[in-house]
């Protein structure tokens, strides 16, 4: 699941906001930042971390527990 977004490194380019398949982010244009708003919807695909040009995002490998078949 997404862990941190480093506000010192973030430039508000909105790449993560745009590419996130699960709509986890919201832009904060006035502050030239992006904010993690819907953290629980992260699917741990690492797309934001991989594509962040500033290396501002860190995604952890463990996911939120989900309902199992048993």
């Amino acid at each position: 699941m997404i862990d941190t977004l480093d506000e010192d490194l973030c430039t508000g380019c909105n790449i993560c906001f745009n590419i996130c398949p699960c709509d986890v982010f919201r832009p904060l244009p006035d502050q030239r930042l992006v904010e993690i708003v819907y953290r629980d919807d992260c699917q741990t695909c690492f797309a934001c971390e991989l594509d962040c040009p500033e290396d501002a995002i860190s995604v952890g490998p463990l996911r939120k527990p989900r309902v199992q078949a048993w």
């Binding site: 590419i19 309902v67 078949a69």
Partner: protein, 577 residues
């Protein structure tokens, strides 16, 4: 209320491989205005971009007939054979195009392409690790195809969820969209619509499939068109704690599934043991549960993790390389036994299509995983299917558009649909029920061994009652505080409908075939069930089920072996021997 309106000839919903290839071929076939719409970004958030990009290509030196038999047999003879054949035969040309656009596939040491067997097929081979610029995997191919589609001239509309299609005089004339940030409506007046929204994974335990929520299934169903193969839900396996793709490869290369007693058990169920097909693994796990030997289950990759499996998965592209690095940093050692569970991956049904990708409704087309082509899940085949079907359906839509009239959606209908699609936002509910809770209840209803693995009539009927209850009682009560939640509400609605289709189709098919296993009907019955199960919404709003005989006499490949040899089937008594 005035709704912003976008006029186009062809609206393509979804921008993975299928939607992008459809855009390219429609433009090449002369369609003037092509609009791409996606609930996330255009071509940057799709399953295609997240996958490893392994793709089957049938080259001139391959025997297409033999490959076709391979694929048709592996799909239990439910394939739409002429369409599969066309995708196979045109795949070499698509490969050449991709190479012209800059995609590179690895070459073997002996020269020629590096091609590897695909699990489930005897002959058809796939190519892996495509590269484009600095990317490797599905994102490499997706980026190249995206670039090409955009250069061909298309309008792009990201972050819009299509909530409804619009019909007039018996044909499709557009779609209503909701902005994912603001919930503002947008009207597409489109002379044709092509659905390429992937499949439905029910936001379950499989990795990186949360975006596939059956959106296209619902859009098509609401218009009364037929869908097929909805009984085929592929349940894969995975870790309950982290994402992992490639269990199939791992189990073929020395990994083992273990039961609660840490005993290897697959050899009791299938001659291929741990290398058996995905559905055989999951069915065997469910039988171990019945025998009291699980849960929990484990996967242990042992020595081959470091020597073979890990290095291979770290190089394939997609999300796995970074995922593996992070797991290692977290101290998770895949050589050792890790808890493993069934993970619902994909509902393999889709819109029943004709030879040009057309649905029952004039002007409505489908492609990729949104169309019903065949019910199996095989490495490299989904990718090839997506690209080939997109190319074909884009061309089909172009042919339709040559004679199609203008798109004139009725304003009164649009206003009504906008109200319905956004009503939940203005509702002041007395409950605090959120979509996540409804999704969890849906999971508890269908992610059960007797519902999605070893299906029993009783289990399916109980699940159907639970799902209907969620749709009728829970969905209208949901609290929706913003546009993000509104989109999730629509996705949940689509998933519940997909679940109902899965359950009704599963009840209808009274035999076992591929991933569809019915406890009361454990045998494959070719005398009665070389048929598709079709579903549609009746004019009274009921879900109608019909079976349609497959026109095998007109198809190139027929079942020639005795019925008992058609498929390698699990020994149903395995757990009790």
């Amino acid at each position: 209320m005035s709704i912003p309106r976008i006029e186009t000839d062809l609206l393509i919903v979804g921008t993975g491989f299928a939607g992008l290839w459809a855009a390219i071929s429609a433009r090449e076939a002369g369609v003037e205005r092509v609009a791409l719409v996606d609930k996330a970004s255009i071509a940057m958030s799709s399953q295609s971009r997240l996958c490893a990009g392994a793709t089957i290509y049938c080259l001139p030196e391959d025997d297409a007939e033999v490959w076709l038999r391979d694929i048709v047999e592996a799909n239990g003879f439910l394939s739409r054979q002429p369409l599969v054949e066309e995708i196979l035969k045109t795949s070499g040309a698509r490969l050449r195009k991709l190479e012209e656009w800059g995609v590179r596939y690895p070459q073997s040491a002996e020269g020629g392409y590096l091609r590897i067997p695909s699990r489930g097929f005897r002959h058809a081979k796939m190519m892996v690790m495509p590269r484009y610029r600095d990317r490797v995997g599905g994102s490499a191919v997706a980026d190249a195809v995206r670039r090409r589609a955009i250069r061909g001239g298309v309008s792009r509309h990201p972050r819009l969820l299509i909530s409804d299609l619009l019909q007039r005089d018996g044909r499709v004339v557009g779609a209503l969209a909701l902005d994912r940030t603001t919930a503002e409506p947008r009207l597409f007046a489109a002379r044709a619509v092509l659905l390429a929204t992937a499949d439905c994974s029910f936001r379950g335990n499989y990795v990186c499939t949360d975006g596939t929520t059956g959106d296209g299934f619902q859009l098509a169903y609401d218009q009364g068109v037929r869908l097929s193969n909805m009984e085929f839900l592929c349940t894969n396996t995975g870790s309950p704690h982290f994402g992992f793709e490639g269990t199939g490869v791992a189990l073929k290369w020395g990994g083992r599934l273990l039961n609660a007693q840490h005993e290897s058990f697959m050899e009791n169920y299938h001659p291929d043991a741990n290398a058996a097909e995905i559905h055989e693994l999951v069915q065997a796990m469910a039988r171990e549960v019945r025998a009291g030997k699980g849960p929990p289950f484990y996967v242990e990759m042992g020595e081959s993790w470091k020597s073979r499996i890990g290095p291979a998965l770290a190089g394939i592209g997609g999300f796995m390389p970074i995922n593996l690095a992070k797991l290692e940093a977290e101290g998770i050692d895949l050589a050792k036994a890790q808890e493993w569970v069934p993970a619902v991956q994909t509902l393999r049904g889709g819109v029943r299509i004709g030879p040009e990708g057309q649905s029952d409704l004039p002007g409505l087309f489908a492609a990729g995983m949104t169309e019903a082509l065949d019910p199996g899940l095989f490495n490299g085949w989904s990718t090839m299917r997506a690209m080939g079907s997109g190319e074909r359906s884009g061309r089909g839509a172009a042919a339709y558009l040559r004679d199609a009239g203008p798109a004139l959606p009725r304003d009164d209908e649009v206003a009504g649909l906008v109200h319905r699609a956004t009503f939940a936002l203005s509702r002041s509910g007395s409950t605090t029920l959120h979509t996540d809770e409804v999704i969890a209840r849906m999971h508890r209803a269908i992610f059960r061994p007797e519902v999605s693995i070893l299906k029993s009539t009783e289990g399916l009927k109980k699940a159907l009652a639970d799902i209907e209850d969620l749709r009728i009682a829970a969905l209208p009560e949901l609290v929706v505080e913003d546009a993000h939640a509104l989109v999730k509400l629509h996705e949940t609605h689509s998933m519940l409908l997909s679940a109902e289709m899965f359950l009704r189709a599963s009840l209808a098919r009274c035999e076992s075939r591929g991933s569809h296993f019915r406890d009361e009907y454990p045998e494959t019955n070719n005398d009665d069930w070389l048929s598709w199960v079709n579903l549609r919404r009746s004019s009274e709003g009921r879900m109608e089920v019909e079976s349609e005989k497959i026109p095998l006499d007109d198809y190139p490949i027929q079942p020639i072996q005795p019925q008992s040899e058609l498929q390698s089937k699990p020994r149903v008594d395995g757990a009790h021997r």
